[in-house]
């Protein structure tokens, strides 16, 4: 092991294993996870060439091969529990990008949620066995997050009892669905239903797209790959154009809405239930934000402990990059954020399962808040993580740009989370709508509950710009409760401002919708403040439950750094609202610098505690053993361009260049 890293690990003031257990849920879970991971690492069937040296088409090939061995191996290893499947796939697939993945994550769940028993009987067996490889085709070339704008039509023809699926325009071509380009033979297609001359909105249809046996596109279907992307190279994101393509009536998923043989449309009882999958995926993305950020800062922090550069004092040996205050200032707030998001991700997952149970019992009361919370937090955490990953890459200097660092791959794999499953700004505004509704509710005398209950205190805390002493001025910047309180005040204040601006815009001549648009920058700002408060609060709650003294103390420092750094970055909000004074901000900034020094000795142990295998990190710079440089050289030698000493372009272009001139 690299001596710097050995020294770092020996100097830690806490046992990282305890934090690992905390993140996994229990020591038993940690143990089981490692068991599974070690099986993958020791299995020769799972070895393959480094993705970085493969072309896109080769990567797709490897990914398909992986899917093929995977199910067999999971059965062999006795893996069935959802968490265990996740552990398995995450290590095995590395990027968690799998061309047949949508069959399991979207096609089958939609079939189960929206299909009748007969429909499930018809398709479920073959899709579980991958005879049917399904995908989920929602997004169109011209339409994304705004579902009502989708153009694909499904027109019922009572004469033949068929639906005519059609892509009427270029913009209506289904675009982006994963696994659609080359892999799938069926798709659940979302389309506008027309029957008896009337449009009934979006419904889901099972559409065969490739011939069983030959895998050739069926007549009337145009399907293919949408071309190269920033990342996701293993995935064949595809397009689908349907040209008056007929499917039987029974292919519309009819658990809720129905079209009778004569074309009569029967309305669903409730449509809230379809929220379920969306809420699940979004809360899952909050966890992904935490994981991706944790991976990136594991790499950056380890490398910063190994890398020596420049000088602090002349004449002394070059110090570890991690000893520079600016490097700590770049990385430690990200480390603190990664921990904060880990806890938020865990909370979201637990809440989803808890509420899902009540939904199962017919209680939908908590769904609106959960829906609003996941939308906003998905946007807040993915935006933050996106920026954080890029900062980690920059913190690795030039080598961060090489694929050897692994961070470009983490970045390009993660960044679509800002736009898919709901574009982030749209997500923020959905949460804003909920916040405004709660605000109005409080104004009209009804109490708000849950995480927005702080709005109940608003009328008594009306902002009076003249009244400087309106807020409690005692802020203890070392106290989690006090810090949670100031974030709450900030959120309350910004929500109040947004609501008032919205009402002002509405009252002066404009329609509600125009007013909404003209307030949307304020609304997004207010929602961010709300989400920030939620993260601080959940982190503070978690901190209270930690028993081990050493662990508590180190996580407390991370909590303080997370909260204080946020205040420092958004100092304008706290100052303008008289929540904090200029001299308090100075204290905050000073305390941040002290915390950097306090966290420094534990930094490596804190990223070790995430317990990522080297294979998951995919990074030469972030190796557990820290032997960076030797391996960097070995890695580069494998580059396809090094296969020959003299590249063919020399003979083709460079040599003629000099003779021609």
């Amino acid at each position: 092991m690299n001596p710097d890293l050995r020294r770092e690990r020996a100097a830690a003031t806490f046992n990282p294993e305890l934090i690992t257990n905390l993140l996994d849920g229990s020591p038993e879970k940690t143990q089981r996870r490692r068991e599974i991971e070690n099986k993958i690492l020791s299995d020769p069937d799972f070895q393959h060439e480094d993705y970085n040296f493969l072309t896109r088409s080769e990567r797709y090939d490897v990914a398909i091969k992986k899917s093929a061995v995977m199910v067999k191996k999971m059965r062999e290893f006795g893996i069935a529990d959802p968490d265990e499947i996740m552990w398995f796939k995450k290590l095995h697939l590395v990027n968690f990008v799998e061309p047949v993945g949508l069959n399991y994550s979207m096609f089958i769940p939609t079939l189960v949620n929206q299909g009748t028993t007969a429909q499930q009987e018809k398709w479920l067996h073959s899709s579980n066995g991958l005879e049917i490889i399904g995908t989920y085709a929602q997004t169109e070339m011209g339409h994304g997050t705004h579902l009502r704008g989708l153009e694909t039509t499904a027109t019922y023809d009572p004469k033949t009892q068929e639906f005519i699926m059609n892509s009427p325009t270029v913009t209506s071509i289904k675009w982006w669905p994963g696994g659609l380009g080359k892999t799938s033979n069926h798709a659940i297609v979302l389309a506008q239903l027309f029957t008896q001359g009337k449009c009934y909105g979006l419904h889901a249809f099972v559409v065969p797209i490739r011939e069983m046996g030959t895998h050739k596109p069926l007549p009337g279907i145009t399907v293919g790959d949408i071309g190269p992307k920033f990342g996701y190279e293993e995935m064949d994101n595809g397009y689908l154009k349907m040209d008056n393509y007929r499917i039987p009536r029974e292919n519309m998923l009819m658990k809720y809405a129905q079209v009778k043989p004569d074309g009569t449309y029967v309305k669903p009882v409730s449509n809230k239930l379809t929220y379920g999958t969306m809420v699940f995926v979004r809360s899952y993305l909050v966890g992904e934000a935490a994981r991706s950020l944790s991976k990136a800062c594991t790499i950056a922090i380890r490398y910063s402990a190994v890398r020596h550069q420049s000088e602090i004092k002349p004449g002394e040996p070059e110090p570890q990059v991690l000893d520079f205050q600016t490097q700590q200032y770049k990385l430690f707030p990200i480390l603190a954020t990664a921990y904060a998001f880990q806890f938020v991700g865990k909370y979201m997952k637990d809440t989803y399962y808890r509420i899902n149970e009540s939904i199962g019992q017919g209680d939908l009361s908590e769904l609106p808040e959960l829906h609003a919370l996941t939308a906003g937090l998905k946007a807040f955490t993915t935006w933050t993580a996106n920026t954080g990953i890029e900062e980690c890459r920059l913190a690795c200097g030039g080598h961060g740009y090489s694929h050897c660092s692994g961070i470009p791959n983490i970045y390009v794999t993660f960044t679509p989370a800002c736009t898919f499953e709901g574009e982030n700004t749209v997500m923020m505004l959905q949460t804003a709508r909920f916040l405004m509704k709660s605000y109005d509710q409080v104004q009209s005398g009804k109490l708000a509950c849950g995480l927005v209950s702080y709005l109940n205190d608003l009328p008594s805390q009306r902002i009076q710009p003249q009244q400087v002493a309106a807020w409690p001025t005692v802020v203890d910047i070392n106290d989690p409760d006090s810090l949670t309180e100031v974030y709450k005040l900030r959120a309350a204040r910004l929500i109040d401002i947004a609501a008032k601006n919205l009402h002002t815009e509405m009252s002066c001549r404009k329609s509600k919708e125009v007013a909404w648009n003209l307030t949307s920058v304020d609304l997004v700002r207010a929602t961010e403040a709300h989400c920030h408060y939620v993260v601080v609060k959940l982190f503070a709650d978690k901190l209270q439950k930690i028993q081990d003294k050493a662990v508590h103390s180190v996580l407390r420092n991370l909590f303080l750094l997370y909260s204080l750094y946020g205040i420092s970055q958004k100092a304008g909000d706290f100052l303008q609202g008289n929540i904090m004074t200029g001299s308090q901000i100075t204290q905050v900034n000073q305390h941040i610098l002290e915390l950097l020094t306090a966290i420094r000795p534990n930094a490596v142990a804190l990223v070790d505690a995430f317990d990522f295998k080297d294979m998951t990190l995919g990074s030469v710079l972030g190796r557990y053993d820290g032997n960076v440089y030797e391996n960097l050289f070995e890695w580069a030698k494998k580059s396809p361009l090094n296969k020959t000493q003299v590249h063919e372009s020399y003979h083709k272009y460079l040599k003629p260049l000099k003779s021609n001139l």
């Binding site: 790959d225 361009l641 003299v646």
Partner: protein
């Protein structure tokens, strides 16, 4: 509209008709776009020349860039080398003089997608650091590609901190040779462009030892590959460093030297010489060896950072008037996404940056041309300011530019993730620029060192006369300042004097508080270096505020010159300048509220002014991006074409994906894995 036909250069089925949603944006221009284009080009004659050059490469399939989206790293390098070859032939045929505007324009027209970029960096380095004899010997060989030279500075273990470089050059007086050697693994030269495959020579930066003493970093011409068969020479290990996030046209390489001997004449000796007996002589200051980096930064800021940012703005803004999404009012059709306030907030700041940085680059170029020849003639008086100016601009423009391009990319929603949007490629170029040619944090701290020095000098100077001798860029440190912003209405925030004052106030305050912090630590017993490290977060903020101030100042001063001659252009550009200044204040509001410079009600006014500006600039947004006058060929984006036919093009380009091309292509994965998968599981379950 000759210029429209010029821009639409893809010659595909849709180029004939302009999408009505983008046409309507151009229907009632508030200013003459062509005049703005001329202004950006530096005169109508330049615009004309540029378009002439662009026409030359427009119809030649070898210069079609669309296929680059589908290429492997290897194919990228080959295609870019082929383009270089073709350009050289063209230039010869057209008889373009060296360093002429034509070369600059053809590089721009082809989006810089041409290999051997570092070869010219190395050539500039020879011109900066070589003696007249050396220049006469090497430069003509470079120009005719008899030799290809890489500039080999960065090592595996050492980057921006040049004193840490480990490669050794030891003078052997007995043979009058230098022995160039890589003593450790970390000393391996790593990253230099053109080195992996192309270079025949490397200009190696190494620590010179002669007469038993070390003299720091110097430049040595080292032959690395045979001029006959291109194989590595004895003692040389050279190759490619492997796949990167982007910039695939460049063969970044590694180089290990095992006691390689080069003649004494191969050390570049404009400013320093080693005489045959090993005596070391220096003219000028040691920092002069940084001159090649200054030159490189200046050109990279224009060709990569500025153009990259501007192109991203063009693509994202055009796409945002074609893309319709949701409704603002239920009764309306779906709205153009550019009509959403949140989308304006995302895109208009990068657009303002695109213009602010244009004037910033113009001002640096101007200063550079004034000082460069003086420095080469060993007059070093302007070197510190030139260094601080280029360093600060490099850090700020790359940091903000990278951020701006990523904002634009994500503002294109899902399609911004497709390479066919052109955005991922722009993003990866800009992202790389934050760490190469000097890591940004280190660069900001170099600016801070310059500022601290001048600040102390200003404090120490008792008489006004010596205060006046502060370099021009920091003269605001001693100027009279106001402690409270005098704004009383929203409109006051549109006065350039007012926001300039605000930026000067904050930049000076942050710098002063860092200097106090430094002093405090030193008084408390810390040594100066430790104190510097413990103050570096503050210093970083001070340097950033200074850079922002300088950028606003340059923008404002450039506009003043237009006020009378070009009132309509001045009016639209001033809005961008206002927005740029106010955006920066809102982004760092804490610094302005902290000491009560701005009051809470003033901030509310400022915010209203800012949101108002978004709406006003929105109206001109398409024309402001048209004025950059990039051809479709150079944008190479399915989303950003002049005619707005986004979706048709996206669909057509996707068909070119190798995965779609042949019927057989889809077979291997299917027959090898999918079919057996289906069969085995079907039977087992």
């Amino acid at each position: 509209m000759g210029s429209r036909a010029h821009r639409v250069s893809l010659g595909d089925a849709w180029s004939g008709r302009v999408h009505p949603d983008i046409e309507s944006e151009r229907r009632w221009p508030a200013f003459d776009v062509e005049r703005l284009t001329n202004l950006l080009d530096g005169g109508a004659q330049n615009t004309a020349l540029r378009r002439k050059v662009e026409t030359l490469v427009r119809d030649d399939p070898a210069f079609n860039l669309i296929h680059t989206h589908f290429m492997t790293q290897d194919e990228h390098f080959q295609a870019a080398t082929q383009r270089l070859f073709l350009i050289q032939k063209l230039a010869k045929r057209m008889d373009w003089p060296d360093d002429s505007l034509e070369f600059q324009y053809i590089y721009r027209a082809l989006s810089g997608d041409i290999s051997l970029g570092v070869h010219s960096v190395a050539m500039n380095a020879i011109k900066s650091l070589g003696s007249e004899e050396q220049i006469a010997k090497w430069v003509p060989l470079c120009k005719t590609y008899q030799i290809i030279v890489s500039y080999a500075q960065t090592e595996m273990g050492h980057g921006t901190y040049l004193q840490g470089l480990e490669t050794e050059a030891t003078y052997d007086a007995a043979t009058q040779e230098f022995v160039i050697h890589s003593p450790t693994m970390t000393a391996t030269k790593w990253w230099p462009g053109d080195l992996g495959q192309a270079a025949t020579h490397a200009l190696v930066m190494a620590q010179l030892t002669c007469s038993g003493a070390r003299w720091g970093m110097h430049a040595f011409m080292v032959p690395i590959r045979s001029l006959q068969d291109h194989t590595p020479l004895p003692g040389i290990t050279v190759g490619d460093i492997g796949p990167k996030m982007g910039i695939e046209i460049t063969d970044n390489g590694f180089l290990r030297l095992d006691h390689v001997r080069v003649p004494r004449e191969n050390m570049l000796s404009r400013f320093t010489q080693v005489s045959p007996d090993g005596t070391y002589v220096r003219h000028g200051i040691a920092q002069v060896n940084y001159l090649p980096m200054v030159v490189t930064r200046v050109y990279m800021l224009r060709n990569i950072v500025l153009y990259g940012l501007q192109k991203a703005c063009v693509i994202a803004t055009r796409y945002s008037v074609i893309r319709r999404q949701s409704r603002i009012r239920p009764s309306d059709p779906e709205a153009k996404i550019l009509d959403y306030q949140t989308q304006q907030q995302k895109l208009i700041f990068p657009l303002a940056m695109g213009y602010a940085f244009h004037f910033q680059v113009a001002s640096i170029m101007d200063f550079f041309h004034r000082s460069y020849d003086a420095i080469r003639n060993k007059d070093m008086s302007l070197l510190p300011e030139l260094h601080a100016l280029t360093t600060g601009s490099k850090a700020m423009m790359t940091e903000f530019g990278a951020h701006g391009v990523e904002l634009c990319r994500r503002a294109c929603g899902g399609h911004g993730y497709s390479k066919l949007s052109g955005m991922p490629s722009l993003a990866t170029y800009l992202l790389a620029s934050c760490t190469y040619e000097g890591e940004n944090t280190v660069l900001y701290l170099q600016v801070a060192r310059f500022l601290v020095k001048n600040c102390r000098q200003a404090w120490e100077a008792s008489d006004p006369a010596s205060r006046k001798s502060l370099p021009q860029s920091v003269s605001y440190l001693t100027a009279a300042r106001v402690d409270k912003c005098p704004a009383q209405t929203e409109a006051h925030f549109l006065h350039p004097e007012l926001y300039m004052q605000a930026w000067a106030h904050v930049a000076a305050r942050l710098l002063e508080s860092s200097v106090h912090h430094l002093q405090m630590l030193v008084q408390a017993g810390a040594d100066e270096h430790e104190a510097w490290n413990q103050t570096s977060v503050l210093l970083l903020q001070a340097a950033k505020a200074h850079c922002y101030y300088i950028t606003v100042k340059n923008f404002k001063e450039a506009l003043e010159k237009l006020e009378h001659g070009e009132p309509a252009v001045h009016r639209v550009l001033k809005r961008l300048c206002d927005l740029f200044a106010l955006h920066g204040i809102l982004a760092d509001l804490g610094s302005f509220l902290y000491d009560g410079f701005l009051s809470a009600p003033q901030v509310n006014m400022l915010r209203t002014t800012y949101l108002d500006l978004l709406l006003q600039i929105r109206k001109d947004a398409i024309l402001l991006t048209d004025a950059f006058d990039f051809t479709d060929q150079c944008l190479n984006s399915a989303l950003g074409c002049y005619d707005g036919n986004v979706y048709e093009r996206l669909f057509q380009w996707a068909q070119m994906s190798p995965n779609n091309n042949s019927q057989t292509q889809e077979k291997p994965a299917y027959t090898k894995y999918i079919r057996p998968l289906m069969q085995s599981r079907g039977s087992k379950l």
